[in-house]
């Protein structure tokens, strides 16, 4: 009888059920989309913030002082220690390898450029988009990943070539254009593009690493490695010294993607190295990320609140419209409990149907919002479905509870006479 009542109610009151279901679906759509966006926005903004450039730097452990003013190295080039280029792919074997967006080694060399008059300039050897291999994994890394804002007028050189890029200010001084030849240390090299970075590279020549190694006469070495990693904002725990932590705490520290713990792992991965966060980038990024995540969390709360309210309002209206039905049932001898359970069963069914539809709608919305804003989709984890359905049922119950209780308490005589 109970099941038949529910079934008939859905069959005969299609319009009103459809309206309530649509309200629930809409509320759940908004809730799902907002939860998905809020959980993913941190990661997305983190990736956007990576356009500031590397946030970690790896240097040789026993390095001498840099004697560098405004990007011009005043130290004899033979000075100082180096890292082994062959160790670099090991970065992809670290615990947090998936958080490493990319890395680029640098090897600065002072060279003489002959263009009418001889001039000393810094040539920096690096990876542009180098194919590397670690274990069975192939990956591409270099400055094009770590510094996405570098602009090249012309084209990027190939990593295996002997072509170079010239910084825009140096190019203006040398009157070099893309496609021209430039005489470096007696050899004519092809300039494929003019590089504009807004930083010291504007006064330098940027070349494939192998070329710089050959010019320096030091095969297989690099000076520094710049690493761009997705990190978690620093907190008090991050600043603890790993050596003083208990084993449990150490594991927790090691397995959190703090800039400090990633630096620590970089040091483990590359022998005789010292890794450090570039505080200008890492610290500021941390604050901005915290702010944006906090903002989105609060906005999500507002969205959840508004959608819960919309669902309750719709449910209250549908129940209120059915006072006469309640009156009839009560006049026929149904108890308050029977009437209430009928309404709650209907509400639960509506919530499940509307919730499932809303989940699909919300996933669709989040996916396209992600594509529109960040050029990469935001995917909703299917794990969220049961959670969303439970929330939908609770909100629907809460929304209809007062209306149902009022309907149950209402005197059937008045209800049947249509006085409410």
């Amino acid at each position: 009888m109970f099941v038949r009542l529910v079934y008939e109610s859905f069959r005969r009151q299609k319009r009103s059920k459809l309206l309530a279901g649509a309200a629930i679906a809409l509320g759940v759509t908004v809730a799902t989309a907002m939860i998905a966006v809020a959980t993913d926005v941190g990661d997305k903004i983190n990736r956007e913030l990576r356009s500031y450039g590397a946030n970690l730097v790896v240097t040789p452990q026993d390095d001498t002082l840099d004697v560098q003013i405004a990007g011009i190295n005043l130290k004899p080039p033979s000075d100082g220690a180096y890292l082994d280029e062959a160790d670099l792919p090991k970065i992809k074997g670290m615990f947090w390898r998936n958080n490493i967006v990319g890395f680029a080694p640098v090897l600065p060399v002072t060279v003489t450029v002959n263009k009418g008059t001889a001039k000393n300039v810094t040539l920096v050897g690096t990876y542009f988009a180098k194919r590397l291999r670690f274990g069975n994994e192939n990956f591409v890394t270099g400055v094009r990943t770590t510094y996405p804002l570098w602009k090249v007028q012309g084209s990027w050189p190939d990593d295996d070539s002997r072509d170079v890029l010239i910084g825009e200010q140096l190019a203006a001084a040398l009157r070099a254009k893309p496609g021209a030849k430039i005489n470096i240390e007696g050899e004519n090299l092809q300039v494929t593009g003019i590089l504009s970075t807004g930083s010291t590279e504007d006064n330098e020549i940027v070349a494939p690493l192998a070329l710089a190694q050959q010019l320096a006469g030091k095969p297989g070495v690099v000076r520094k490695v710049y690493v761009s990693a997705l990190t978690k904002p620093e907190d008090a725990f991050a600043r603890r010294d790993p050596k003083t932590l208990s084993p449990d705490m150490y594991d927790r520290w090691y397995c959190s993607p703090y800039a400090q713990s990633i630096a620590f792992q970089l040091q483990e991965a590359i022998p005789h190295s010292h890794a450090e966060q570039i505080r200008q980038v890492a610290q500021t990024e941390g604050t901005i990320l915290t702010r944006i995540k906090g903002l989105m969390l609060l906005v999500t709360l507002a969205a959840l609140f508004a959608s819960a309210l919309a669902v309750s309002a719709a449910m209250a209206t549908t129940v209120f419209e059915r006072r006469r039905e309640v009156g009839l049932m009560k006049a026929l001898g149904a108890g308050g409990l029977a009437v209430a359970s009928l309404f709650f069963a209907e509400a639960a069914l509506l919530a499940l149907l509307g919730g499932a539809a809303g989940f699909a709608g919300g996933s669709f919305l989040a996916y396209h919002a992600g594509r529109w804003i960040f050029d990469s989709p935001i995917n909703v984890q299917p794990v969220l479905l049961p959670l969303i359905l439970i929330i939908a049922v609770i909100v629907t119950f809460a929304g209809s509870a007062t209306a149902i209780l009022r309907a149950v308490k209402f005197d059937p005589v008045y209800a049947l006479r249509g006085e409410g």
Partner: protein
């Protein structure tokens, strides 16, 4: 429950009757009216809070982005030094913009000096208190307070002065005696340098500042205008934006605003639907009033006007109260998240008010025109 109200028909009596009905309806049906008003208030609150945040978030986040430090650099051409009045000119130019109150300009002068055991080290002279404001990512153990005190980069400190005692530096045959005050760690070039105050530096080396780092606050258009003005007053120097900082900021800000905008649209649409559902229910619920008025001879225009006025009043009241709450919530979010209150934007009030009244009118008029075709007798019979 509702008393049949005598219908007024003419002139002044008509108007007073209209208002009496409005007031009595609100008092007698306060349960349902209150729930409709509540929905209205909540919608207006959420809308106000989000719009306020959306308008203000740009300046709030921009302030956070200024923590990246200088976004404009002034560099003397060809390795020379800047004229002595360069800093004053920069400050005058940047300070001219009333919105750029927080802008900071910091001069830097560099030389390579030698330590007592003939090791080369970069020494920088600067305005230490201004650097502290500009580069707050510097991790400094103690800032120098006395003259002839130096701030040592962590690597410079380990190599030049491992014992932490006072030390000598020589530049072109002239020696300065410095006391270390603390160390600075940044993970970049600064780690290998020694920082002293610009007055000590100039007295010792006679070299003037070659670089001025400027932190210009404000939107990109203001920054570009400032760069153009700086280039005009300092023709002997290169004035350049730090592109990495300026462009990355624009990118992240744009995406954040877009996300917030999408969220605002969703939430406001939901709130509007909630109001629509509640108000429609409220009006439908009163179809008996409608039927009685019609049976007593009220014209369709009078009835529509009555319900519309009621709805508009509800919308206006909800907007007024909701706007107050919304501003409070926005200020609270500003304080908890950005540690600075979000300024109330009163220019948003007309938008919220208009939106609320509009949605209230739509939700009242739709059911009324649906009821129009129904005979009052049918409604009064309860069908």
């Amino acid at each position: 429950m509702t008393k049949p109200l005598p219908g007024g028909r003419a002139g002044a009596q008509h108007t007073s009757m209209f208002f009496r009905m409005l007031v009595r309806a609100a008092i007698l049906r306060r349960g349902r009216a209150a729930s409709a008003l509540l929905a209205m208030i909540v919608a207006a609150t959420v809308t106000t809070a989000l719009l306020n945040l959306f308008v203000d978030v740009q300046s709030k986040l921009r302030r956070e982005f200024r923590n990246y430090g200088a976004n404009v650099v002034v560099i003397a051409k060809d390795g020379k030094t800047l004229p002595p009045d360069a800093l004053a000119k920069v400050e005058a130019t940047v300070g001219r913009d009333p919105r750029a109150k927080q802008s900071v300009a910091v001069p830097f002068a560099y030389v390579v000096a030698r330590t007592s055991n003939d090791q080369p080290v970069v020494v920088a002279g600067t305005d230490l208190s201004a650097v502290r404001k500009l580069n707050n990512w510097w991790s400094v153990t103690a800032w120098p307070k006395q003259p002839e005190e130096a701030l040592l980069g962590v690597r410079a400190s380990a190599i030049v002065n491992p014992q932490g005692k006072s030390f000598d530096l020589t530049f072109h045959g002239r020696t300065i005696h410095l006391t270390p005050a603390g160390t600075v760690g940044t993970g970049a070039d600064e780690d290998s340098r020694i920082y002293v105050s610009l007055s000590d530096f100039e007295a010792w080396t006679g070299v003037r500042a070659s670089t001025i780092e400027v932190d210009v606050s404000g939107p990109p258009a203001d920054v570009n205008a400032t760069i153009a003005r700086l280039a005009q007053v300092l023709p002997d120097a290169d004035v350049r934006p730090v592109r990495q900082i300026v462009e990355a900021e624009a990118r992240v800000l744009g995406k954040t605003r877009a996300t917030l905008l999408a969220a605002c649209i969703l939430v406001i649409a939901t709130a509007a639907l909630c109001v629509l559902a509640t108000l429609t229910g409220w009006v439908l619920d009163r179809r008996r009033d409608f039927a009685i008025m019609k049976a007593l001879g009220a014209s369709q225009r009078f009835i529509s006007g009555f319900f519309a006025a009621e709805a508009a009043f509800l919308g206006a009241l909800g907007a007024l109260l909701g706007f107050g709450f919304g501003i409070g919530i926005a200020a609270w979010i500003g304080r908890t998240n950005f540690h600075a209150p979000v300024m109330p934007r009163f220019e948003l009030f007309p938008i919220v008010l208009l939106g609320c009244i509009l949605i209230a009118l739509v939700s009242a008029i739709a059911p009324i025109s649906a009821l129009r075709r129904v005979q009052p007798a049918m409604i009064l019979k309860g069908e």
